[in-house]
Subunit: 347 residues, 4 copies
């Protein structure tokens, strides 16, 4: 039996990616597709790749249009999910791709966002190593799930195994991450024009101001090594998709390279989507393009006394829409990997 | 029941793409993976995206290794498929991604290739409009299939409807096509380095010398409008994948824009992978990335008296490996679309 | 003695490129820099590369601000140059980068533009082979010059030698050209976002509707082979700059490959910026990046009976701002090549 | 009077860039151009952008060919400069773009390189803040100069002002830098193919093994804050040129944001090529493309207690060939900025 899934905010990149994945999913089918400013337009005028939905016109995002579905995926600007979710039937699964329900600490929310705190939902990163036991369990049968941010996905999965296993000193974490431009969304701005971004790298949100920072710190603080503060510098890279997170931490006193590697091996041995690469092989965003895969590598730099852990994800797939579908699968009792591309489109 | 498929030439881009598609195919599983110079290497040292095959080592390409499979896909340099295919069991389906068995005219072969003519196999482009009736029929249950070249796929599907319907004058066809760099293969050459190709467009094989030319002409000559000669200029574009073929022909005397459109509509109305876009919307290679989709658009330029037809394909998917799997499906009696991505990874 | 040059429309890409070239020019210095919507903003907030002008704030584009300069370069949207130029002193050199004064035929203007016909000025393509004798002569000491469009520059310089020498049949010209995204300007639009254009090629303005078409036809019709109509398909390529124009024409009856080559050799033997490449070598946009160079190659395709001529230019340099400075040099009596980069930034 | 400059290793990207700059230099002219494996080939068959040198054929790299020039620029693989330089006249200025003479500590050399230690020459980074006084002075009239590496240029100019001024704690420096692919040279390798690098980011040389590390540490240790060890992770970015170095250090106890900014302002106030950007504006590699400019920005992240300093350079221009010409100017007594592009080719 096919379950019917509505997508709210279908005109953005995240919404479009959810639709791409739903179209290939054997147990899910696309229900209503809605938008705000773009309501009334043919879906393929915005997402020309979605030809199987060529007969669809974007509807208004209202509770009425979204009612009567097994699940609803919200891909809205932050600040909009709370009211809408409250108006949806309690028994409909609601998966929020936005930031609204990710943070458990209202003060962390207020320090980084300009809208009222909406609360927190189960956090949709099943693989996250944590001191509280696995996150996966909380997602089976959940009716509300907050999908993680793209940077937090890459950074948390890169560093958490070492913090959980005690091989990293939590005191001085430094992360520099490169993101493809689709992370900045589909809203046209001069600095995101192809002419500006091709052939160019630049940082942004430098100095502790990026909104994904409290989420990263929440995830890494839950690993049991104590609360962490992260130096986080995102950079914009000349590619449409992909995040490469280069994460470093001081190695815990006396830890060996083998102990470091064992921590990551143990964390991801049974994960279907997170792959610790063979030693000497480093992640590339190209290898995970369009897939739900996470590629991770780690090494101990003995000269500098630092562990370097690197993760690559596709910001729109595992970083957003793939995680949403993975959570949908868990919430609806389907196999966790159902309908999800395991392998990137490379080269 | 899963059918087992071997891939010979698995270290190249075409072979890697066949493996990517097989991994997601519900009725096929990956058998032997073989190579020439790269035999003995771990598959993921060459194709790091193929993590589900992380335990595989490339074997030598020999008939013994390739025996015992329901099907074998050959992704070899031209000149190598004939001898190998002859040594494979007659009942194994053999799908050749190379050029060896595409041309029906030995002289056309000799004019463009430097190896002996190997013969011709059923031509694996099910959607090709033709004067001889549909190509699709010849592929059901075939045991040998020649997969079309990437440029011929885009150019033939762009122009054939108009030639078959008689709305184009076959006398003066002009094609300029842009290809992503993966079309040139994985063998390292200075002019294919990222440093050289990023930010740059250039033509190559200009003036009637590209090897895909006789195949293009074979396909278009079979449309019933008479033998054609094509002016074909391929260009190298700064993107890893994709072909955009811009094809023009003189409009037949007195033909109207509506008649032109109807010819293409009729040809592709029932095709699962070939989409004539809504009027005013033009194909982009980004919209078909990683998919088996072909996007086509056509218009009549009344000032110049020419019809312009444009097609976009992913050169590695529909242009090679996707067509191979589509033919495998037909040859093995599976649904034609089984396991094939219908929608591109965009943006 | 330095001459002072004002730039109106300095916030766009063309205006920015004019400033880049002026900063390196030994005989010219930057005077007023003006804009419309961006007036009041620091210039480097829009063009961060122009650090030597870090103290400049964009002024309003008014005749008063632009008065008192030896020359004024206009880089405005079409329809705005006429009134402004009329208000500038007759003795100031005015170089218009826009389309307003390029067309000599008011009807050609009206068929493609929505503003009133403004007239025509000497056409700023010194190298254009023509039946009327050299264009260069009309530019020496001119006080008003219309800078050619980017596509017309590439297409005209590719084809004109053959038309002027009578080795091409003017009856059926077909041009497909690829442009970098900066040709579409700095105004933010969704289809020009980096996310959309990277990795993707697509055509636009197909079927005889692009505004550069009457200018191309004007140039090629002036070659003496008779009036021409061109099938012109522009495509958007995933690169910030560059135009690659692939131009084909039927070879004149009985013409030989050597005669074809001689026509181009003769046309450009003494040109400082236009280079016919050695036989077998084809232009790439990368090789002319940021320079005033034009790379051209030509061949006779005897199978198809067509000559293929290809030109590469940087759309912002030789295609706009470089041509503007070249015309400035001629108008002011400076050496034609003064201050102009002759060599592209490659790789 | 023009000085004559020979270029050894002219077939690589560094050599090609030196030639591009020499062609635009008002006081220098190109003498012999030599190569190893490519000797005998026309220069423009390798560097098609260098059309003014279209008549040149690459000569063998021998002392005889290189004799009789005012200066010789060496752009050779490491290990080759020592013997060649020893065979050149003592009075010829020799500028080495390679690593051979950069390190003052033979043990640092041996730990990272596999050839014998060649010695050290004056280090060609005139702007480097240092405890020993300015580096510039040692370069005026020098006859031997070691041109800095590309990463060391970006990293040293980003961090040195803070170390020299005592506002940074030297104990825990973390650098993540992105480089364009031309930094890896022109020698063809599969992982550098356009197909592999476009759309992809990946790290390499992770964990304290990159050869630029001892040079970075040498420069930063000379700032007077004590010897430093750096955690350095280089990444390969999908662009042909450019380095973006994101450098972080613990802020010195009690230092304020204003004190941090003042340190950088003081260091670069009078530098012609190094620009501290206005507050809030961050460097991009696109803004320095093809130029000798260095764009720098710095901020204090009070949450994390770290200063983040970012520098952007063009790896081939200021990162190699531009620095070489800058040093040539100083060595020959010409104005330091002569012939050097001050402004990047943007967008």
């Amino acid at each position: 039996m096919q379950r019917k899934v509505a997508v709210a905010g279908a005109s953005g990149y995240a919404g479009g990616e959810v639709l791409r994945l739903l179209l290939a999913h054997p147990q899910l089918e696309v229900g209503a597709v809605t938008a705000a400013g773009n309501a009334g337009q043919p879906l393929t005028s915005i997402h020309p790749h979605l030809t199987p939905l060529a007969d669809r016109v974007l509807q208004e995002t209202t509770p009425e249009v979204l009612a009567g579905h097994d699940a609803v995926v919200l891909a809205l600007p932050h600040g909009h999910s709370g009211a809408l979710a409250a108006a949806l039937p309690q028994e409909s699964v609601v998966i929020d791709c936005g930031a609204d329900f990710r943070l458990r600490d209202p003060q962390a929310w207020s320090a980084f966002y300009d809208t009222p705190y909406a609360g927190s939902w189960p956090y949709g990163m099943p693989e996250l190593p944590s001191a509280d036991g696995p996150t996966r369990a909380a997602l089976a049968g959940a009716t509300r799930v907050a999908v993680p941010g793209c940077y937090p996905t890459a950074v948390s999965l890169a560093l958490a195994p070492g913090l959980a296993a005690g091989v990293l000193d939590p005191g001085d974490l430094v992360v520099v991450a490169a993101s493809g431009t689709s992370g900045a969304g589909r809203s046209p701005k001069a600095h995101l024009l192809g002419s500006e971004v091709m052939g160019s790298m630049s940082p942004y949100g430098v100095g502790g101001v990026h909104r994904h920072l409290p989420e990263i710190e929440q995830n890494l603080s839950a690993c049991g090594a104590g609360p962490v503060t992260v130096s986080f510098t995102p950079t914009l890279a000349p590619m449409p998709r992909g995040i490469l997170a280069t994460c470093t931490a001081l190695a815990a006193e006396g830890v060996s390279a083998a102990e470091v590697r064992r921590a990551w091996e143990a964390a991801y041995a049974d994960e279907p989507f997170v792959h610790l690469l063979p030693q000497g092989s480093w992640p590339s965003t190209g290898a995970v393009l369009g897939s739900n895969a996470v590629h991770v590598q780690v090494t101990l730099d003995e000269r500098a006394g630092r562990v370097v852990a690197v993760a690559a994800v596709d910001n729109l797939t595992k970083g957003t829409a793939g995680a949403a579908v993975q959570c949908l699968n868990l919430a609806l009792g389907l196999p966790e990997t159902s309908g999800l591309p395991a392998v990137g489109v490379a080269p």
